[in-house]
């Protein structure tokens, strides 16, 4: 049971991610299918209409320990020297349930503009009385623009790993009391 408060403007005030009910994930075509993973240690806040997020690369999880090690190595994220991914919005546009967020994405010490697109739900009051707003966002980045150039050729000569990576953020933000 929830009560819809407003559905036309970007929420004002201060909102922080409930990380248990939020996720940051990536998907990238690998060989014939999609390889995916997530970061579990992050924080996201929406303050007076500006979205800011920070994620610890050390918390990157995929379904194989050796792959996690490889992803955190200098060939990929270089977690030792660049322990965090950050996103800071520069503009948020909302039309009904659709939202577009321009901002600066920093990964491996390299900052590039990125636009997150998706949907916004709420704000709405939850069953404990807190006010929540949901964002379901994604963007596609070219990993080679962030100095992640690793690849291996398949037997047919095609590269095993695609350069375009989809980043997904499914966020529940709770309004500060």
């Amino acid at each position: 049971m929830s009560t819809t408060i407003e559905q036309t403007a970007t929420p004002t005030g201060t909102w922080n991610a409930d990380t248990v009910h939020s996720s940051l994930a990536f998907e990238v075509p690998y060989a014939v299918a999609t390889f995916s993973g997530e970061v579990t240690d992050f924080e996201v806040s929406l303050t007076d209409g500006a979205l800011a997020g920070k994620a610890r690369i050390a918390s990157l999880k995929v379904k194989d320990e050796n792959l996690e090690t490889h992803l955190q190595s200098p060939e990929f994220f270089d977690a030792e020297r660049h322990p965090e991914l950050t996103f800071i919005s520069t503009a948020i546009r909302r039309e009904g349930d659709s939202v577009e967020i321009d901002g600066d994405l920093t990964l491996k010490g390299i900052t590039q503009p990125a636009t997150l697109t998706g949907t916004i739900t709420g704000p709405a009051v939850d069953h404990f009385g807190a006010t929540r707003v949901g964002f379901k966002l994604q963007t596609v980045i070219d990993r080679t623009q962030f100095d992640m150039k690793w690849n291996m050729p398949l037997p047919n000569g095609e590269p095993a790993l695609a350069n375009d990576v989809t980043l997904k953020a499914d966020l529940t933000l709770v309004q500060e009391a």
């Binding site: 320990e65 050796n66 996690e68 090690t69 490889h70 955190q72 190595s73 200098p74 060939e75 270089d78 030792e80 020297r81 690793w150």
Partner: protein
């Protein structure tokens, strides 16, 4: 700064070992090269022997890598690739991957051959292997072709000085900046 120098050749009069000795003479102030001489004692990799601790000679290699600030490898080229003994030693050192001493370790690869190309293919494969192990592979390329005719040439020494400079900068980016 301590650099562990590893030769991929076992031959007493190895050109690649000589190259590393020359590199020690050309090392910049504050950089000390130590030649690792345990390659011949590393047993063939056998997962059945890959326990904790591993064979004593393997543990000695792991300790030497761990104690070094950076690693310089000089490789010959056998059948267009990395010599088996060197690859075998790296395979041992890389286990287990998540805690292996080469993880994030700055490493430079150089090489020489009596042919025209200076072990370029072995070097490329070695860089690939080190990347997979999680090493921080320095952007060094020194391929000394016709090495038997070029002993002690100034341009070889200059190439070694440049290679060490890049390795030091890779290991200590704050000092290089």
């Amino acid at each position: 700064m301590k650099v562990l120098a590893i030769s991929g050749s076992l031959r007493a009069d190895s050109h690649n070992t000589a190259l590393l000795r020359m590199a020690a003479e050309e090392a910049p102030r504050g950089v000390e090269l130590e030649l690792w001489q345990g390659l011949k004692e590393i047993p063939p990799y056998d997962a059945d022997d890959d326990g904790v601790p591993g064979p004593a000679t393997v543990e000695a290699l792991r300790d030497a890598v761990r104690a070094a600030d950076a690693v310089l490898i000089a490789t010959p080229e056998y059948n267009s690739s990395v010599p088996g003994a060197l690859k075998n030693a790296l395979d041992w050192a890389s286990r287990p991957l998540a805690t292996n001493p080469f993880r994030n370790k700055p490493v430079a690869v150089i090489g020489s051959s009596t042919g025209a190309f200076g072990a370029v293919w072995a070097q490329a494969e070695l860089r690939k292997v080190l990347g997979a192990m999680g090493a921080r592979v320095a952007e060094v390329e020194l391929a000394v072709g016709h090495v038997h005719e070029r002993v002690d040439e100034e341009d070889v020494r200059a190439g070694l000085r440049d290679s060490l400079e890049v390795l030091v900068a890779t290991a200590q980016p704050a000092l290089a900046a």
